[in-house]
Symmetry: C2
Subunit: 252 residues, 2 copies
């Protein structure tokens, strides 16, 4: 496998692939020093120009920002191996047709210096070629226990849902932290609740896991909360919107 891109996604995938005994060949990054650091870390070769990448890999993984995927795929030379991007929201067709197009999308949030157990991360595979799907699924099966074949249209919804349960949820954590710090309350007090909230839906459907004032339509408590948010019009609006949606789910 060779990499185009050397950021978080590339780094975590490279770790997973290497741990599974797969050889990493080359890496290209528009920022030369990043390619060198990556190459050093994984014992592969940094390539100074994307057009000079060698034809010796079975798979070229493009892990660059979404809006650079098309251009990167076009700048690659003609290759025997598969060229796959790693994006949730980008369609298969964004890749240049000159090579074998595929998608290899790991459904997880990757943060620098935080190891992730890839074996539990679903890898979403797509290609317009049956053999390519087969080879990629086999490779994905070496790093993850959960390999799914899913087309671009469905993958977009999966990506949107991922943003909701990850980015938006993390934003709620962020708001909670801000609010508590303003009141000199330790955010750590919320950590067991945060863990249990995510833990619960591993076993129970979210619709059955819900608790709290909105679910109970407890307007006394809701009004008290809105009062606490009197000086935060944006969070107050968010509170109102989410509360109204939850009430609607359980009382209409």
């Amino acid at each position: 496998v060779s990499f185009i891109g050397s950021g978080n996604v590339a780094t975590h995938l490279a770790m997973g692939l290497q741990a599974a005994g797969i050889e990493l060949q080359e890496v290209y990054s528009p920022t030369k020093i990043n390619a060198e650091i990556f190459a050093d870390k994984f014992g592969c070769k940094p390539v100074p120009d994307i057009g000079l990448i060698s034809d010796n890999a079975d798979l070229y993984l493009i892990a660059v920002p979404d809006d650079e995927i098309r251009r990167a795929s076009e700048m690659l030379p003609s290759l025997k191996g598969i060229v796959a991007h790693t994006s949730g929201i980008t369609s298969l067709n964004s890749l240049s047709k000159k090579n074998k197009q595929a998608v290899f999308y790991p459904l997880q949030t990757f943060t620098k210096d935080r190891p992730v157990d890839l074996s539990k991360v679903p890898v979403c595979i797509e290609s317009n070629n049956h053999d390519t799907v087969g080879s990629l699924s086999e490779l994905a099966g070496k790093i993850s226990k959960k390999v799914v074949i899913i087309d671009s249209d469905k993958r977009k919804f999966l990506h949107l849902a991922a943003v909701m349960v990850n980015n938006f949820t993390n934003h709620l954590y962020h708001i909670a932290q801000e609010m508590l710090e303003k009141e000199n309350i330790d955010f750590e007090l919320l950590l067991p609740l945060i863990a249990e909230t995510a833990g619960k839906v591993q076993d129970i459907s979210p619709v059955n896991a819900q608790t709290g004032p909105a679910k109970r339509k407890d307007s006394l408590t809701i009004d008290k909360h809105l009062e606490l948010l009197a000086n935060d019009p944006e969070y107050k609006e968010l509170y109102r919107l989410l509360t109204a949606q939850i009430i609607k789910k359980y009382h209409e």
Copy 2:
């Protein structure tokens, strides 16, 4: 300890107290059969009338809906023991002054038939009496490693923050599930991401854990997501609001 109320909070606290070797005396519930089931489960005595509860407990825990706490405390007889409610949002002063007033608030989401490890659950204690704070803290320390003394004004913010990271987060899970099911995509694919999102902030501050299109101000992806939500005006509004708030956090 005797209980007023026999719902989720009462049941989970009773399990924790009993496991810590604390004797349960009596239980009162306005629904007689619930008191009997609870009494059966914990080997204590059901009391048919709140005014007849015995004076033999060190602590009376009121675990009833928030708007019934005041009335329940007023209907209790005069007691030597402490009378504590278990609510996050209700102030200490809501309790009748005829008995020793206190708060014993376990910061967790409790669901029927789902065991919770109380040793990790913060218990928030309050009283206007120094000795009562001491006795309650000692008792709380028998079921939890995290006992904090916190007044009613601060506890309200803690409760609001808890609603955000629990109820609102669970609602996001719910929306994601709905959306995926409509597209025939298995919600289970999101579970590792949900677990990692909550896992990350156990170690990293939410502000540093954030990833995704809003954080990157990636309007191309954001527009694609809004398009997918074209038929869901309410979720689209929620998406817009949360995205705008995240962008503001990282780009203003």
